[in-house]
């Protein structure tokens, strides 16, 4: 064992030199830096995370803007349909089924070819990304972060009955292993959702269900952070200068845990996108002919020996999205909490 390599080059000195580093910018005229800006600078240093962010931005923009454009690209064709003339608005629609062009190879007409039902794979990929992002925004952006912050902060700051309730509820959710709860609920209510909201119904159902299972974990995390922040003397100091509890939460607790919530949420997005994929894969998510990356994989599995690209394209897309969020999450964590890196 090489003995002198046991610590990475940034650990010891940060502790030893901390007190000097603080002095650094006290000279007059030097611009002061807010903690946010410091973190942002650290994030920009992480090439992997920045790369992932750029890639992800491209994917998101493409799924939002390229799909409508794609539906305008291409000639009006008629030959294979006899009298019917159809334009790109149809055959580039992610849901348009055309039995005459099943499993077509990539061409100028279908950029990435078509699947077993003659649907345009490129359009379906873009639509699939949209579904993943939609679920991520509803589940993580709204339910996970929203409910997690509200219940976590309140339970952590005030304790009492709310805290007990939260603990019991989380215990229960944890007892449903993994996706089981989601499988249960989506399985049971799928038909009802289809009847009520049409083909998009299952997607809403999936989002709400995944949101229900994910927020207690966030709440517990936020609660823990709130509790440890409450121990900090500046919270007590705020009380002594007459800041009310609500103001303490808004002014001091939230701003100080927000960055950590960001990090946790980013990492939760990966998990949520995967879970949506799993549910679609086992037939509980998006309804065919709708599109979702998980559904695309499921549809292609039987034909892998003949048309491997049909499986690889959605798999690769999902891999890239999930990895990108993970990289960004890792990068954010290192940026907001430099010590966590070592």
């Amino acid at each position: 064992m090489d003995t002198d390599r046991y610590l990475e080059p940034d650990t010891a000195p940060t502790q030893l030199t901390q007190e000097y580093l603080m002095e650094e910018s006290l000279e007059p005229g030097l611009h002061s830096t807010s903690p946010w800006r410091d973190s942002f600078r650290r994030f920009l240093r992480d090439k992997r995370a920045v790369g992932a962010l750029v890639l992800l931005a491209i994917f998101i923009l493409a799924s939002l803007f390229l799909l409508p454009i794609y539906e305008h690209i291409g000639p009006v064709i008629s030959e294979r349909h006899g009298f019917v003339h159809i334009g790109p608005a149809k055959y580039h629609s992610p849901t348009y089924v055309d039995n005459l062009v099943e499993n077509a190879p990539a061409s100028s007409l279908h950029w990435l070819g078509t699947n077993y039902a003659g649907q345009d794979i490129f359009a379906r990929l873009l639509a699939g990304i949209q579904v993943s992002l939609f679920v991520a925004v509803i589940v993580v952006g709204v339910m996970d972060v929203g409910l997690g912050i509200i219940f976590g902060v309140l339970a952590g700051y005030y304790g009492g009955i709310l805290d007990t309730l939260l603990a019991r509820f989380t215990d229960l959710i944890f007892a449903f292993p993994g996706l089981l709860f989601a499988v249960l609920v989506t399985g049971l209510f799928r038909q009802a959702a289809l009847d009520r909201f049409g083909n998009d119904g299952p997607l809403y159902l999936v989002a709400i269900t995944l949101g229900l299972t994910i927020w207690p974990q966030m709440a517990r995390y936020v609660r823990g952070q709130t509790l440890s922040l409450k121990e900090q003397q500046f919270i007590e100091a705020s009380r002594t200068i007459g800041t009310s509890s609500n103001q303490i939460i808004l002014r001091h607790i939230l701003p100080n845990i927000l960055s950590l919530i960001f990090v946790a949420a980013t990492l939760d997005i990966s998990g949520t996108i995967i879970n949506e994929g799993v549910l679609s894969l086992i037939g509980l998510g998006v309804q065919a002919p709708g599109s979702s990356l998980g559904l695309m994989i499921q549809e292609s599995l039987a034909n892998i020996p003949y048309f491997p690209m049909e499986a690889i394209l959605p798999s690769l897309t999902l891999t890239i999205i999930v990895l990108a969020f993970s990289f960004i999450g890792d990068g954010l964590r290192d940026a907001f909490d430099p010590r966590s890196k070592d």
Binding site: M1, T3, R5, Y6, L7, E8, P9, D10, T11, D171, L172, F174, A175, F176, P177, G178, L179, L180, F181, V183, L184, V185, G187, L188, F189, Q191, A192, S270, I274, N275, G277, V278, L281, I282, G283, L284, G294, I297, S300, L301, I304, P305, P308, A311, I312, S315, L318, T319, V322, L323, F325, S326, F327, D330, S340, D342
Partner: protein
Amino acid sequence: MLRFFLRRLIGLLFVVIGVTFVTYAMGYLAPNQDPIAALLGQHNTPQAYATLKHEYGLDKPWYIQYGTFLLNLAHGNLGLSYRYPGQSVNDFIGPAIAISIQLGLSALILALVLGIPSGIIAALRANTWVDTSLMSVMLFFYAVPAFVIIPFYQVLIDILVANNLPTLPVQGWSEGLTYKIVPVVILALTSMGYFARISRTVMLEVLRQDYVRTARSKGLSERRVIYLHAFRNALLPLLSVIGPSLAFLVSGAFVIEDLFNIPGVGGAAIQAVANRDWPVLQGTVVVLAVAVVIMNIVVDILYSVADPRIRIQ
């Protein structure tokens, strides 16, 4: 020790009641559920309907139904299938449990055996190329789900077969050991990535502790410092994340069992959803929840053995 077990048993009871109640309530609330009509199919006559409904106990109010279910559960009886007349849920799940345990435990052990050493190696070589590349691979495994890896693997197999190269089979869990390798490995990947990442963090944290410096100041060999003094402490947080990590394993098992046609509990659950076979799904939920709770108790016991500070009298 007795008190500890008592407390955990009460906890287990609480979880089982909570899980079954939620499951039950869901089933009760869900629309379009008339299992009796489905069971009878074209043989549906009012008389047969009434008889069968009585046989399944569905003519009673919901709380009697639920009470009966709990009572039966206490005797290890999970009830009757809605889909296959005359079959009990136990018939479905019994053999499935053994298979799932085999799959899950093998994957867990594999994940621990590969994940923890990787994390430790990365920590000892922190911020070198070894660390960066090892951790990138582990992040990949952690982030990328099994159902994405499976298509890649199948494509790989096709390429290998086309070139007359040897491959590992994927379908046919019960056929023999070689048939089990691929599902176990793929199931283990996520947990392995997770353990590797956690191990690295924990080990770095432990290596920073004062007692590691003390051990070095005593002139102990680096091997002893790391593998005795540091690792023994790193073990504690690692043990405590095994419980929560079971969630990955169970979710992964759903997909693996479904895609590889492994007749395990997860596969049974998905089948049950497709069949609207309500009691079977409920049975799998209970079985899996109990399994997770028991695993957590085992981990707790291990933890209390490993940490003298909370050792039970």
